[in-house]
Symmetry: C2
Amino acid sequence: MNDAPCALVAVDWGTSHLRVWALGSRGEVIGGRKSDEGMASTPRDQFAAVLESHLQALSVASDIPVVMCGMVGSRQGWVEAGYLGVPAELREISENAVRISGGTRDIRILPGLSKNSPEHPDVMRGEETQLVGLSRLVPAAGGDTRVVCMPGTHSKWVHLTGQRVEDFASFMTGEMFSALSGHSVLRHSLSTGRVDPKSTAFLEAVRSSIDSPSDISARLFSIRPAGLLQDLAPDNARAKLSGYLIGEEIAGAISRFPVPGTIELVGGGDLGRLYLAALSVASIDCRVHDGDQLVRAGLTEAASAIWKNAKRLAPGND
Amino acid sequence: MNDAPCALVAVDWGTSHLRVWALGSRGEVIGGRKSDEGMASTPRDQFAAVLESHLQALSVASDIPVVMCGMVGSRQGWVEAGYLGVPAELREISENAVRISGGTRDIRILPGLSKNSPEHPDVMRGEETQLVGLSRLVPAAGGDTRVVCMPGTHSKWVHLTGQRVEDFASFMTGEMFSALSGHSVLRHSLSTGRVDPKSTAFLEAVRSSIDSPSDISARLFSIRPAGLLQDLAPDNARAKLSGYLIGEEIAGAISRFPVPGTIELVGGGDLGRLYLAALSVASIDCRVHDGDQLVRAGLTEAASAIWKNAKRLAPGND
């Protein structure tokens, strides 16, 4: 924790994790907390106490505003912050923030985004704030089309035009990987190691799914007989499962969105490196963004709009 | 158990179940046993004792031959019966039966089929005997192409030309249903009831996957927001999951095999009715066959070939 005065607290409160950052007047991080007190493990009447314990630990004065995003705003969270239907302008996200009543602090929760289409309903909560952050850190020209890929348990792909979210879709890739690697016959074939994004097994698997996406459920099964008949190594089996599923996601995203030659990829780390390699198989280049940095920038941007009179909350504009 | 003399014992010994039938000289069932002493729960040194207990219960004399198929012939089974590579003639299956050494009974295990292709290896064990039975009960003309669909945990699709297995593929459909309904976010959205094959939710889901198979992992996720945003009923959520996965399997099979207007569907029961309805969405008609009947006919046919001098084992030819 450095000695600059705290101007804003930014909170990303997801299903399984809680991140709290104390930010200075220029958006710089002056202190942070990380915890596994996620929404799912926090009883409704404990949200206030959990947050307060972290704010105390960061010595945040009671007049400093707090802005939050993520599952904390879901029906099972602290206070429901609803969903904004797409298409939506990014500025509408802060306009629809919900204030938590009672207490001495000014605390707001940002809404999620939803798509209420009969054929393909969808929701996101948390990622919309990263989109706000992306738009702040890497502004798009007015009518520019951008496609954003946000890998994860439920990966999101988003189609933006300027500051407007046109459409998005979630892909079950991460969760299918967990379910199949832990709870299917494939569990006998896989290592538990890290997948090498440069391995032939991974890259060829991505290519197979992109080239013939209709065949995914046969392709997934083939990992088992490849172990029986061809001594497929457990590390390569794991790489194939990952590659088949990520390739299928890319095939679906390409069929759904006007994917340009360069997209915005949110997330470094091991998963980001796998997506970067997989996207290159599809001849898609990426600008890579750090997810935490985007969410902080998005929360800061939202705070600037919510508390307009507090000029200290507009870092980057001074 | 009726009073006709037993001429053959037919055994289908799978991963989780064991079926034993005492058959008369015309292939008629004169007694049967069903048990959950599957291959997976039977220690290697107990296979002989388990089988003998059922033969004793059926009062089968020690000179009656026994023919078996299924996972009992796998590496983890009683004695490994290997795999025959495809393309293969159906008669090669009985020609490659493995005899169990020692003991007083003449017991044979039929091999499985394998496909050792670098891009798509595959195996089956048990279903090959149903193919032999199908060919016996519903003979094909010499060069006729037939496609067989065998729904299950790992559904099999098989391409036959006359008596020859040209190609086959396994689809993880049943296991993906179990893994996703039990171990993903979708578990919150699904009922535990039976899926109605006539329901709009099921049929529309099949249609979606057939029409845009690349989109499967986004489509699967959409079941969750449909519950949140559109009050999708849990029965319909289950029907959608089933329909999306079965539709994806059909899309894959169509892209892989020369599927004619009428195929052979193995399996009645609830699952067979779902496939029958799903295939009709793809304008594919089915001749429906009972799986147990096919496996008995296949074991009987194999026995006739193995013990050629025992004319009593050629029911249907007299």
